[in-house]
């Protein structure tokens, strides 16, 4: 799968939100939500992004979808930089890039029935004209996401969380997308439902050849679905690696801390496992510390970490790490 051409390349993406103050709304500083992030996603692959709250996962996704206009950087989709395309030009690609939201409730218009939600998404395409075609497509979509057709006449509040999320997926699929950004699509769901949805994602990818950017904060979930994983901290990518390598070969101290913080249901191992409990909290992206963003919480931090931001360097086997202490983790 590594041989496929990259569908999306993100290069040096920056998204600074200005913070305004005072009467004249003067910008007095920026929230560096995404700061120099680069990665690429191959066709048919799933790229996972993990990180703690506020580290810029959603913002990265939204920049790719052009919901936000990035401050700087390139987003090369299908060989074309879409980050600076004018809105009118971008229209052609609009429907190929879709988003699945975290909150399945908020992402559905409570006043629209299931069929009108789908109809809206189908009709926008202008490919389907007659009622018959629309209905056929609708049925297709519903069965694709394993929803019973009964549901067509219901309203979102009459659906369960899992059904809502499936409907969200169906709506995205109605646009025939190539790339779907999934923004924590399972975080709000119960474990059993979460598993159903994850399975669905995987099946759809196989059947339709979709490419996902899968955002989550649960490492286990991301590892399960993604081929490659990017770990973000405070607006920066600190490590990018194949998911198979995650448990055994992760090298960034932050990734390790994350891994150890995730409790597992493996009873005997869990009882034995030594935990790295990080001190302190994630600093605010408004005044990120100089140097490596992780250094205030890192136990390996040295002087250089405090002054200079380490670069994200390839350490072989498609494994990129941004740390001066790459992988000395003995414990």
């Amino acid at each position: 799968m590594n041989e496929k051409k990259p569908l999306l390349q993100v290069e040096g993406l920056k998204m600074y939100f200005p913070l305004k103050k005072g009467l004249l709304s003067r910008t007095y500083c920026h929230v560096k939500a995404v700061d120099d992030v680069s990665f690429e996603v191959r066709e048919g692959e799933t790229f996972g992004i993990v990180g703690e709250s506020g580290c810029g996962k959603t913002t990265t996704g939204k920049c790719i979808l052009r919901i936000h206009d990035p401050t700087d950087g390139k987003i090369i989709y299908n060989g074309r930089d879409i980050s600076k395309l004018p809105k009118s030009k971008f229209k052609e690609n609009r429907r190929e890039l879709q988003l699945i939201f975290q909150d399945p409730y908020e992402s559905l218009d409570p006043r629209q029935s299931v069929c009108s939600i789908l109809e809206e998404a189908i009709v926008c395409d202008r490919k389907f004209h007659t009622k018959e075609e629309i209905k056929k497509r609708m049925r297709e979509l519903l069965s694709l996401v394993e929803l019973h057709q009964d549901i067509a006449l219901r309203y979102p509040h009459e659906l369960s969380g899992g059904q809502r999320q499936r409907l969200g997926v169906a709506r995205a699929l109605a646009c025939n997308p190539k790339l779907i950004v999934c923004d924590e699509p399972v975080s709000a769901l119960d474990v059993s439902i979460q598993a159903q949805i994850i399975n669905l994602f995987r099946r759809l990818q196989e059947e339709l050849g979709l490419t996902y950017i899968f955002v989550a904060h649960d490492l286990a979930v991301v590892r399960h679905i993604a081929g490659r994983i990017g770990v973000m901290y405070l607006g920066r990518m600190v490590e990018i690696l194949d998911s198979d390598d995650l448990f055994e070969n992760s090298r960034h101290p932050y990734t390790k801390a994350l891994l150890s913080a995730v409790p597992t249901t493996d009873y005997y191992r869990e009882k034995r496992r030594e935990r790295i409990v990080l001190e302190g909290e994630v600093p605010s992206p408004i005044n990120a510390p100089p140097g490596c963003p992780f250094h205030p919480r890192c136990r390996y931090a040295t002087d250089i970490c405090r002054t200079t931001m380490p670069e994200l360097l390839d350490r072989g086997r498609n494994h990129l790490v941004a740390c001066y202490h790459d992988g000395p983790c003995e414990s």
């Binding site: 992402s107 629209q112 067509a152 006449l153 969200g168």
Partner: protein, 306 residues
């Protein structure tokens, strides 16, 4: 919504459609349960509003007089079989005038609320959705208007535009606009942030479609409640204007005008002012109770809860 069921019907079978119908019936039942679940007051108010509406629609059937028909020789008489509530100073049948007053008051309330709704919702939607300088300007102007009490605003405008039903309703409507704009603006601001608006944009929906397909329908419950409450307020303002002698001109049987005119006789024939006053009070109160009930019944937050 019924068309929808029919149109999409072929993707579902008969049974599902029946189920959907049943569910909607349940929803309607739920709506009424909440509407009436507020105790006897709510029920009485709802019945009263219905009665007032019926009376307003069918007033010619309820009485054999016209509201202007006089019997000068029979002026200022108390209740009698011919005149259920007695007669006024020109020998007009008080009951008839009150009955026609319902028609008048309700129509002026409805008409002015329609004005307020149309103008207010349009401005509120535009200001909320497009925001920016335009939105800010609209809101500041609304602040400015809000700083003038509606009655005073209506008074000034009535002096300019005169006291025809049309202009009075427009005037009262205008004075209610900021209320709508503010609420709709606030709603749109918060609705705009909802993911489904983003989703609609992602599937390539245009601004206006989003505005009218997603934002406006989601404001409906608020609009309906405001409208119901607005009718009562409009009637109240109209009566206030009439009391100040600036509203609708006599002899139109507006309750406000009747109170204004009847007040002269409060000592000798109190019924002239009391009856229209009581009716006015009942109508306004029941409208506001029904509005309250609607607010609860339409509140999506309360759906499924309670």
């Amino acid at each position: 919504m019924d068309n929808e069921i029919r149109e999409i019907s072929c993707i579902t079978d008969e049974e599902t459609r029946l189920k959907a119908k049943k569910r909607r019936k349940q929803n309607i039942r739920y709506f009424f349960t909440v509407l009436f679940g507020r105790g006897i007051l709510a029920k009485i108010s709802f019945v009263l509003v219905c009665i007032f509406i019926l009376v307003a629609v069918f007033c010619p059937l309820l009485t054999s007089y016209t509201p202007f028909q006089q019997e000068l020789s029979n002026a200022l008489k108390g209740a009698s079989p011919q005149h259920l509530l007695g007669t006024d100073n020109l020998g007009r049948d008080l009951f008839t005038r009150i009955v026609y007053g319902a028609r008048f008051s309700l129509s002026i309330g409805l008409l002015s609320s329609v004005w307020a709704l149309v103008i207010g919702v349009a401005l509120g939607l535009a200001a909320g959705y497009f925001g920016g300088i335009f939105g800010g300007l609209v809101m500041r102007l609304m602040d400015a208007q809000l700083s003038i009490p509606p009655l005073i605003l209506a008074l000034c405008l009535a002096a300019v535009f005169g006291g025809a039903v049309f202009s009075i309703s427009l005037i009262i409507g205008i004075s209610a606009v900021p209320g709508y704009v503010r609420v709709i603006y606030g709603q749109v601001l918060s609705l705009r942030e909802y993911d489904y608006v983003e989703a609609a944009r992602l599937i390539g929906q245009g601004n206006f479609k989003i505005l009218f397909k997603h934002l406006l329908p989601n404001c409906f419950p608020t609009i309906i409640v405001m409208f119901t409450m607005g009718v009562g307020t409009a009637i109240m303002i109209e009566s206030g204007l009439a009391y100040l002698g600036i509203g609708i001109k006599a002899p139109t049987p507006s309750w406000g005008v009747m109170i204004f005119e009847g007040y002269k006789y409060i000592f000798s024939s109190p019924h002239l002012a009391l009856w229209p006053g009581i009716m006015l009070m009942l109508l306004i109160i029941s409208l506001s109770v029904v509005g309250d009930g609607l607010r609860d019944a339409l509140d999506p937050k309360l759906r499924g809860k309670l």
